[in-house]
Structures are given as structure tokens and as C-alpha cells.
């Protein structure tokens, strides 16, 4: 996705030009501009978070918090903060685009050097990850932009009806 890559380069440069303290986001401006069935999207159509003034988070961000702390945190540490051997994803998402993120989660990644071998597994066949990939993405995107803190979001929007249907279909079993 060269287009996204260009966007990412521009996004990195712009804050410097502006001299401001804007936070980098590998997918560009995270502001939610539209919503479908409780899921929010930015101007480029990438999934994003929506945090209301009173701290209420959208369902996907909340769900992403839960799924992250089940599937990802055993390597990447609590709250996207990283561990002794796996990177802090709240920082990674300052550079990765949405499609980069999807590609790495589904296909895995290896980083081998003289000191250590880091291997991220391919989660492409894991429904506990892939059925919730947008949830995890928007949670980490919110962490990268410091829109949510290190603790469990206290208030959240209700679970959308459409979400439950899609979840059941994706997991392939009835609750």
C-alpha cells in the first residue's frame, strides 16, 4: 500500500513542521468521522476509536482492551507497554498503518539479530484474534494517541446488536 506509506511519511513530517506536540499515528488522523453499527472510522475509512468527553469509550475500544489482554499481552506486556523482549505496541502504532498492522498480525514477523531472535507468530487462523482484529487495532490506536490510559476503560458504549451477530458468525459457534 504505497499510498498509505506516503501518508505515513507525511504524518511524521507534519508535526515537526508545525512545531507542535501532535502525536504520530501510522494511519493518519485518528478523528472519527463516521460510524456504522457502533464501529467508528476515520476520514480514510480506517477503523478508529471514539472517546466521549466523560471518558465513555466505544464498544470496539473496550472489546479491544479485553482481547489485547488475553491474546497479546503475554508477549507485548500490559496496556501495550511492551515487555522485556517484545515491543510496546502503543509505540509501534505510531508508525504502522492499518494494513501494516493487519499484515503483521495475520502473517507474523521475524527479527533475528546477534543478540536475540524475536518471532511474532502468524495469527491468521486464530479466530480469537482475527474475529477481533479491528477491536484490538482501535484499542492500540487509542493507546498510541494517548486517548485511553493504562487502566481498563471504566465506561463504555453498549455492545451493538450487529456486533454480537458478526461475532457469532465469525467464531462459528452459538453462545
Amino acid at each position: 500500500m504505497p499510498l498509505r506509506k506516503n501518508l505515513f511519511a507525511i504524518a511524521l513530517v507534519l508535526p515537526m513542521l508545525a512545531g507542535g506536540a501532535a502525536i504520530a499515528d501510522g494511519a493518519g488522523d485518528p478523528t472519527a468521522v463516521k460510524s456504522t453499527d457502533g464501529e467508528y472510522f476515520d476520514k480514510d475509512g480506517n477503523p478508529t476509536y471514539k472517546i466521549q468527553a466523560d471518558g465513555t469509550v466505544d464498544w470496539y475500544t473496550y472489546s479491544g482492551y479485553r482481547r489485547y489482554h488475553s491474546e497479546c499481552h503475554v508477549c507485548h506486556g500490559p496496556d501495550g507497554e511492551g515487555s522485556t523482549y517484545a515491543p510496546a505496541l502503543k509505540n509501534s502504532l505510531k508508525q504502522l498503518s492499518y494494513s501494516d498492522f493487519l499484515g503483521i498480525v495475520a502473517g507474523g514477523r521475524k527479527a533475528v539479530n546477534t543478540a536475540q531472535e524475536s518471532v511474532m507468530p502468524a495469527f491468521g487462523t486464530n479466530p480469537n484474534v482475527m474475529c477481533y482484529i479491528n477491536d484490538i487495532y482501535v484499542y492500540l490506536r487509542a493507546r498510541a494517541n494517548e486517548a485511553v490510559g493504562r487502566v481498563r476503560p471504566e465506561k463504555r458504549e453498549p455492545k451493538p446488536e450487529e456486533y454480537t451477530k458478526a461475532e457469532d458468525a465469525c467464531l462459528g459457534e452459538k453462545r
Partner: protein
């Protein structure tokens, strides 16, 4: 004060009783020589007590670093090296290098072995690529690699004598534990409780690598090697199909109960002891029933693998209180008579004392006063709930259900203590226990099983008990009465195995990287030294050229490196609270190094 049989007396009695035809005489004899450290647990009883006493409470303050050695690997370093004669054998995490060092010749590398392993095993190791060490017997060094290959190396040359595959990393089966040699067998376990692996212990012939027996934690009696009429649970035969009849459907096939802890052995009784891990998944709603025999203390006949007795500590686990911690064998005076006891500090926060001949429950008490998920174990032998912990509904994730966040459960999933082994001093009669002082919120939810993929089913967050800031304690425990004798606060969980010595000094490491020495009687800190990285290894001792050495591996990582790297947060502090408690990354960084200490000339 000498109310207790010393470790030496125990071993001597064992040698006499066991007879030369079956026992591994070489290993028993070697383990009686305090100058060497011949098995990962120090001795079969797992006391981690050494009779060496050159280093004492009076002079330990003068201890100095004598020499250091880098493993060349930068991940979590658990376990401790072996010392056989003049040679030291040192292991590392993935890719699992093994070094043979000549202690008599400038610690020169005599040989190095590094297996070729598929790096795809790395991400199926739940909590870092740790390895807990090597075993020695019959002129061979035994290594259980991350990819479950058990390999026998010629101790003189490092050449492979035989190798055998114990499991399938493609299904999430990996190896982190140290193999143990008992008689003519090498015993190995399996890791992967978070990948739906069904745990087992397997015995291989020491000379050939041929499989002799395998006992699963759950499944049909033919798999668990349980005899329905002879295997007992709290004194009663378990009856048929005990490994399947507390499971719904075929969940037992992916039932967990892995076996990655330390193994102990009583040559006199010919029994080996270990604990099985958490049932899988972490979502209790997906596996109704007691889930036997996960979370269980097993006593197995070493020759046949047959289970003599079992005791399930945490029926139907709801918190990931993985029961794999070591079983320490010590003979103690209880109720006016000497009992052959087994002492176990479980993840669930209870310190258990059992009669190791028959599995009778003698003591079960909290070794961290903050433990709140249970009000205690029913000790009434005539009660229907005899031996069961009473669960507090408020902290029951089963009771509260899926998609509900149960708060302030103590201990956290990493337990009041994890694999980091405790030590027992026959001189003081006390157990020295490295502990975690951490609580958690735990929310279970539904997950689907895919072979080789994580199968967790709960989300959790961890923090110190309310109103406290120390995440660990190093305690002395009286297992006869179930009481804490003394307790030292530690800023971080203590994730290092303890060493007790006849010099009256107890050693342990901290996650910041300190090696600490304390007075065995009082807990008073006598010495500390900051090593290059956080310590999750076990302290050991040996003698060479008339001098006593203390050695420990540094190399932060393991589960502690995951949870504590960034520091824990206080959930009550509300949105935006960052780094409410100290982060380990402010104190230490990755490493992989052995530091060896000695008194100055």
C-alpha cells in the same frame, strides 16, 4: 533446636534403604558431596540446602564478585548451573546453548553445544523462552530444548549420544523445565497450558533414550496411569475414569495440567513428586466440573509411572493458579512424631504440608496474609468437602461469570509464588520462600480452540494489594504450624530461587538484579550486590580449590519481565494513571550472565 532430621541424614537413610540394584548410586553419592551441585534442585529432596559453611553470617558481608560469564543470550535466564567435579555445566534460554567450563583451568570453555531449532517455537512459549537447566548422570548431560527435544550429551565432549522428541511445538507443546534423572530414567515434562496442551510426565531410558512410560494429567486411566482401586486421593481410592469424569465432553483432550515445574524424589519410597498446572482455558465457564487432575500434587512410582496418590489443590480453577511449584521433601516433627512430609507453596497462596507416603493433608495455610479468594481448606476428615478450599463468591470468576470483571482477587494469576523454588534449612527447620505480593482483576470470556494458537480466555490486570506498594516478600515459613516466621518486603516480586547454607546464610536474587544474603534465623540483610540484569535464576553454591563459591544467573525476563517491565498501575487511580508503581525498566535491562562470588583471601 535439632528437632529435624538433616538433609544429610535423610539422604544417607535413603541410600541404605534403596539398595544398589535400582537406585542411581552415582547420583545419590555425588549429591552428598556439598562441593558439587549435581542436579538442578541441588538434591532429590529439593531442599536447595548446602552443607558448605565457609561463608557465614559473620563474613558474608565481605563477599566479592570472583568471576563472570556471559551466555550470549538476552532473554529470561532461569535455573542454575551444575557443578560436577571440576566442571561447570551452564545452560541458556532459546536457542539453548550449553557450556562446559573447566573451573580448575581459568573457567575455560571446554565445549559448547548449541542445537539447531526452528525459531517458530519462540512465539508458542507463553511467557518468554526460558529454560530451567540441565541434569547429569552416567557421564551425560541432559538438555530439554525449547522444541521438546530431549538430548543426551557426552559430558566430556558435548557430542550428542542420543536425542528424542517429547512433544509437538506445532500444537503449542514446548519445554521449559529441567529434566531430572531418577534411577536409570530421565524424566521430562511439557509446557503449553495456554495453548490447550494436555500435560504429561515422560520417563526415558537414561542410556538409550527409549521411552519407558508417560503419565498424563487427565484422560482415561490408561493415559493417567491411575489405578482406580489403588491410587488414592486423601486416603480413598479414586475410582474409575477419574481423569475424565469431572470434565464435560472432550474438553480434557485440550485440558492443560502441564508439568513444567521441578521434580523431587524419595528413593526410599521410590516415588517422584510434582504438580500439574492450570486447566485450559482460563475461562472456567467453558469447562464445568473439577477438571481432575489439573492443579494436582502427583506421587508416581518411578519405575512404572503409576500414580500412588493424588491431591487436587484447586478444583475447577478460576484464576490460573497453576499448581506446578516444587515439592520439598523434609522429615519434620508434627504432633509429637516424625513425619515424612512434603511441603509445597502453591500459586493459590496456600502453603501445604502433606505426608508424602500417603498424601494425607496435614497443614494448608495462607503464606501471604492478603490471600482472599478462599477462607481456607476444609481439614475435617469426615466432611464431604474434606481437602477442598472454600471459595469466596465475590472473588469467584465462575460465580461472577463470563464478561464480568472480578476485582481485587489476591493473589494474581502469577500466584503468591511462581516456579522460583524455595529452600529448606534442616538447621533452622524453616522454609525460605520467594513470593509475589500482587492482586488482580480477572475477566473470563469465551474462546475457541485452534491447535498451536493461544487458548487463554480471560483478561487480567495486576497490582499490589490495596494500600501497599511492595510487590514481593521474601519469607521464612514454619511448615509444621503454617506460620510465617519472618518476612522481608521487596519492591518487586521475588522471582529467584533461594539457597540455604550451613553457614546460616540464605541467598536469593531480586528483579532489580541484586544478589542478597540474609540471616537464616532473623531475615536480617547481610549483603547485596547489583548484578548486570534482573535475577530470575536460582542461587547455587559449590566448592573449588578449598573455597566456597556462590553463583547466580542474571537475565531479566519470564513472566515477571512481561508484567513488571512497564510497572503496574493502580486501577483505583482512574483514567490516565501511568506508572503508579515502580517499573522494572527503570532498574535493569536485558542480560544473560553468570556472576560468581567468593570471600576475599
Amino acid at each position: 533446636m535439632r528437632k529435624f532430621l538433616t538433609g544429610t541424614m535423610l539422604s544417607t537413610a535413603a541410600v541404605i534403604a534403596a539398595g544398589s540394584a535400582y537406585a542411581n548410586d552415582e547420583l545419590i553419592k555425588l549429591s552428598q558431596d556439598a562441593k558439587q551441585w549435581v542436579m538442578p534442585t541441588g538434591n532429590y529432596a529439593n531442599t536447595r540446602h548446602s552443607a558448605l559453611k565457609q561463608i557465614t553470617t559473620d563474613n558474608v558481608g565481605k563477599l566479592q564478585a570472583a568471576w563472570t560469564f556471559s551466555t550470549g543470550v538476552l532473554r529470561g535466564h532461569e535455573g542454575a548451573p551444575l557443578v560436577i567435579g571440576d566442571m561447570m555445566y551452564l545452560h541458556g534460554p532459546f536457542p539453548n546453548p550449553v557450556y562446559a567450563l573447566n573451573l580448575k583451568d581459568e573457567n575455560k570453555i571446554v565445549w559448547k553445544y548449541e542445537p539447531k531449532q526452528d525459531p517458530n517455537v519462540i512465539p508458542v512459549m507463553c511467557c518468554d523462552t526460558v529454560n530451567r537447566g540441565l541434569s547429569y548422570a552416567d557421564g551425560k548431560i541432559f538438555l530439554s530444548q525449547a522444541d521438546t527435544t530431549l538430548v543426551a550429551l557426552d559430558a566430556k565432549t558435548g557430542n550428542v549420544v542420543w536425542s528424542v522428541k517429547n512433544g509437538d511445538p506445532g500444537k503449542g507443546e514446548t519445554s521449559t523445565g529441567a529434566p531430572m534423572v531418577m534411577k536409570d530414567k530421565v524424566l521430562v515434562g511439557i509446557s503449553g497450558g495456554e495453548f490447550g496442551v494436555r500435560g504429561s510426565v515422560t520417563a526415558y531410558n537414561m542410556k538409550t533414550g527409549q521411552r519407558v512410560w508417560r503419565g498424563y494429567s487427565m484422560g482415561p486411566d490408561s493415559d493417567t496411569l491411575i489405578d482406580p482401586a489403588k491410587t488414592t486421593n486423601l486416603g480413598k481410592p479414586v475410582g474409575p475414569n477419574s481423569g475424565t469424569n469431572t470434565w464435560q465432553g472432550e474438553q480434557w483432550k485440550i485440558g492443560g495440567g502441564t508439568t513444567w515445574g521441578w521434580y523431587s524424589y524419595d528413593p526410599d519410597l521410590n516415588l517422584m513428586y510434582y504438580g500439574s498446572g492450570n486447566p485450559s482455558t482460563w475461562n472456567p465457564k467453558q469447562r464445568p466440573g473439577d477438571n481432575r487432575w489439573s492443579m494436582t500434587i502427583f506421587a508416581r512410582d518411578v519405575d512404572t509411572g503409576q500414580a500412588r496418590w493424588v491431591y487436587q489443590m484447586t478444583p475447577h480453577d478460576e484464576w490460573d493458579y497453576d499448581g506446578i511449584n516444587e515439592m520439598i521433601l523434609a522429615d519434620q516433627q508434627i504432633g509429637g512424631q516424625t513425619r515424612k512430609t512434603l511441603v509445597h507453596f502453591d500459586r493459590n497462596g496456600l502453603g501445604y504440608t502433606l505426608d508424602r507416603t500417603n498424601g494425607e493433608l496435614l497443614v494448608a495455610d495462607k503464606y501471604d496474609p492478603k490471600v482472599n479468594w478462599t477462607t481456607g481448606v476444609d481439614m475435617n476428615k469426615s466432611s464431604a468437602n474434606y481437602g477442598r478450599p472454600a471459595v469466596v463468591p465475590q472473588y469467584s470468576t465462575e460465580h461472577n461469570g463470563e464478561d464480568v470483571n472480578s476485582k481485587n482477587i489476591c493473589p494474581a494469576a502469577l500466584g503468591s509464588k511462581d516456579e522460583q523454588p524455595a529452600a529448606f534449612s534442616p538447621d533452622t527447620g524453616l522454609f525460605y520462600v520467594p513470593t509475589n505480593h500482587v492482586c488482580m482483576d480477572y475477566e473470563p470470556f469465551r474462546v475457541r480452540y485452534t491447535a498451536g494458537q493461544p487458548y487463554v480466555g480471560a483478561t487480567l490486570s495486576m497490582y499490589p494489594p490495596q494500600g501497599e506498594t511492595n510487590m514481593g516478600n521474601f519469607i521464612a515459613w514454619d511448615a509444621k504450624t503454617g506460620k510465617i516466621a519472618w518476612s522481608n518486603k521487596e519492591q518487586f516480586s521475588v522471582w529467584s530461587g533461594a539457597l540455604s547454607t550451613a553457614g546460616g546464610v540464605v541467598f536469593y536474587g531480586t528483579l532489580e538484579g541484586y544478589l542478597k544474603a540474609v540471616d537464616a534465623k532473623t531475615g536480617k540483610e547481610l549483603y547485596k550486590f547489583k548484578t548486570p540484569s534482573g535475577i530470575i535464576g536460582n542461587v547455587m553454591t559449590y566448592e573449588q580449590g578449598g573455597k566456597q563459591y556462590i553463583a547466580v544467573l542474571s537475565g531479566v525476563g519470564g513472566w515477571a519481565g512481561i508484567g513488571l517491565a512497564a510497572g503496574l498501575t493502580d486501577p483505583t487511580a482512574g483514567l490516565g494513571a501511568v506508572g503508579g508503581y515502580a517499573g522494572l525498566r527503570n532498574y535493569t535491562s536485558l542480560g544473560g550472565q553468570l556472576t560468581v562470588f567468593v570471600l576475599p583471601n
